[in-house]
Point group: C2
Chain length 156, copies 2
Amino acid sequence: MSTHEPKNYHCPICSLIKGEESEHNRLSDIVYEDHQTLAFISPKWWPNNPGHVMVVTKEHYENLYLLSHTTVQRIALTVQRLALAIKEVYQCDGISTRQHNEPAGNQDLWHFHTHIFPRYHDDRLYVLHEQARYVAAEDREPYAQKLRAYFASHTS
Amino acid sequence: MSTHEPKNYHCPICSLIKGEESEHNRLSDIVYEDHQTLAFISPKWWPNNPGHVMVVTKEHYENLYLLSHTTVQRIALTVQRLALAIKEVYQCDGISTRQHNEPAGNQDLWHFHTHIFPRYHDDRLYVLHEQARYVAAEDREPYAQKLRAYFASHTS
């Protein structure tokens, strides 16, 4: 099976799950957690879609090819849950999700993740693909606060 | 909840599920089917990603916001199944998936669907977003044949 993770990869997602912060991920980015999945504000943003969310498996798997059926199902439920949350608290005009496997598929982080984007009219998310940039933790915090407040008041 | 489907929408996906062909969808596009989901070759292609697949719910729901948990889980399993199939039979360099909700989220077909793309090095899928075009049924057929042959030999 196609694998691209370097040997001795120090996985920033596994670090976050263990409670360790790193250059691009802070504990304050985390907005949702259950037994198998975690959701947090992405450190990399596209120009017109601030505060998008990444949903990850708590166990380390490189990509979609390797997930068990149970894990696939749990991720999907968390993605839907976050889509509904983002729609409500960001008051965005739409939601889109995407999931990348292998470098040719735009994957550059070797831990399975799905992106959930707040969408706005004429945001040109795809055409501006090469304009993504890392943002400061302080910029992420207001988005994380809103989503945490939503989940605090919406127990499943 | 945000809905954009016109009144009296004649849904091409529901037609396909009922066995009726339409301008852009032929029965020969169908590559996989189970109780709750259907997968077929998309009639609209991006320049460097021919033969991508759409996975749909058999029941009509406009978008992700409206799916039951069970349906979310079934769709996710079919998406993974198709990702593995496309990777094997197209011999592509990667796979990416995406799912659009509401016009601002790039949705233009009012029946829930997830796109599964074969990816190739430097295919520029996102930057070339506005260059998608409809293709003839004959162009779709070789891709459908390959995927049907795969599923004929991989019973779950």
